[in-house]
């Protein structure tokens, strides 16, 4: 379960302070795959980053006991002058992997990314596709309770996309995902519930299809039981892959 308690987040702009969220309280039901949907600039990515602890709210708290990943496939997190291997080792160390664990993870990423001898070359010599492969492999080397995904489900060529998809589904047998996407196929394939982010509010749709309709319709139609979100909204079982 992830709980937002009176969350306020704002940014300074040239036209004064812009509030993305003001005293937002919200509870994400446990054990569900969550889609964050909404228009561009509605605050989906900000919410994702707040949950991931990358950004910190002005006021309020994100309360959870779960382990939450960094944004999956984050290719910007690499040091260009270091090799792929050193970058992977760095993240392993930060996440407290011991020597044995680290060797396993490095081997996993090396095999998964399939970038051959480039794994021991500086990351700055990589093509963007190779970076993405490394980044995705690195995310998949760790076991989290929640994987945060911001739009990057499709990287690399068709074969790698297929492999990534299978890997992710394997992970999701034991973990959950919080997905920000405009691709409604991905949303309905991966997610159990939808959260519509709009006007600084978050509205829970226990039925993904309904959430998508509300988002695409543009008008907010409150779902049944939306008021009772705190006391156990019941997510339906995950759809089989479309």
């Amino acid at each position: 379960m992830i709980e937002l308690r009176a969350l306020t987040k704002s940014y300074a702009t040239t036209h004064g302070r812009h509030y993305v969220f003001r005293d937002l309280s919200f509870t994400f039901p446990a054990g569900a795959n969550i889609a964050l949907i909404g228009r561009n600039g509605a605050g989906k990515s900000t919410l994702l980053r707040l949950i991931g602890g990358i950004e910190t709210p002005d006021r309020g708290r994100v309360v959870t006991e779960r382990r939450i990943s960094w944004p999956v496939g984050l290719a910007g997190g690499f040091q260009g002058t270091l090799t792929g291997r050193d970058n992977v080792k760095f993240v392993c160390r930060v996440y407290g992997a011991d020597r044995h664990d680290m060797a396993d993870k490095v081997r996993f990423v090396e095999e998964f990314a399939e970038i051959g001898h480039y794994f021991d070359q500086p990351v700055k010599s990589y093509s963007s596709g190779m970076r993405s492969r490394l980044a995705f492999g690195l995310s998949m080397a760790f076991d989290f309770d929640y994987y945060l995904i911001d739009e990057v489900l499709s990287v690399g060529d068709a074969q790698f996309r297929q492999k990534s998809k299978m890997m992710l589904e394997e992970k999701l047998a034991r973990a959950n995902v919080i997905l920000v996407s405009h691709n409604m196929n991905d949303v309905s394939r991966l997610c159990d519930i939808a959260v519509l982010v709009q006007d600084g509010q978050a509205i829970l749709y226990p039925d993904v299809a309904e959430g998508i309709r509300a988002y695409q319709g543009g008008a907010v139609t409150l779902p049944e039981g939306a008021r009772a979100q705190g006391d156990g909204a019941n997510p339906r079982p995950r759809q089989s892959a479309a």
């Binding site: 991931g52 602890g53 990358i54 950004e55 910190t56 939450i68 960094w70 944004p71 984050l74 910007g76 997190g77 690499f78 040091q79 002058t81 270091l82 050193d86 760095f90 993240v91 160390r93 930060v94 996440y95 407290g96």
Partner: protein
Amino acid sequence: MTRSAWHIQKAVLFALYLRELKTRFGAHRFGALWLVLEPMAHVMVMVTLFSFIRDRVVPGVDFAVFLLVGLVPFFMFKSIAIRIMEGVEGNRALFSYRHITPMDVFITRALLEVLLYALVYALLLVAMGLSGLDVRIAHPMDALLAFAQMALFGFALGVVFSILVSYLPAAKIVIRIMFIPLYLMSGIIFPIARLPHDLLPWLLWNPLLHATELSRAAMFAAYPLVPGIDIGYVPLWILCALFAGLWFYRYRRFVLVANP
């Protein structure tokens, strides 16, 4: 398997440390050599220059050693401050991993610089000792304290600079240039007692002058300390800079992390 805060802190600092170590000289391999060459070059040029004027500037003190004791701590101070100032920019990508904060980068960079310059210092002192100069340290504890004080001051100012630069990126250039007059006014290449005495009250505002003179007083048995040098002055500066730096850091830490 939740890790304690201390455990995470240790893991982050260790990981960053190895990373900084690998990237410190990554751009050009000449970097490691430069670390030793820079103070050596300054010493050599100055010794040559001054040997035309007079061989002994301070009685009972070898001029080359005199220079080294002033130069290396100053270079360390400068290097810590500047590398902390540029620490956020060079590592922005890292802050997507939730455990890593700018302060972790600051601490790691300062530690690495201290270690490197301590090594360079020891190396050059031993080399000078082998070539027949007197490099005995008169008051080792004081020398250690003086070195630590330089490091801490560099750290405190580095934090202040990093905040300043986050408000005003152009300040970076001014700060870099500022080290040149500082180098000249801190008694690093010539004894401050040689300057006209009516200048002294003004020069004594500079904490680095105090720090440098105290380094020398710790090194040489009978070093004539200029009146007005105060043991408590640099710690006061450190305290104020740390207070201001950490205070603003508290408010700016998320802005530091955010992408520009």
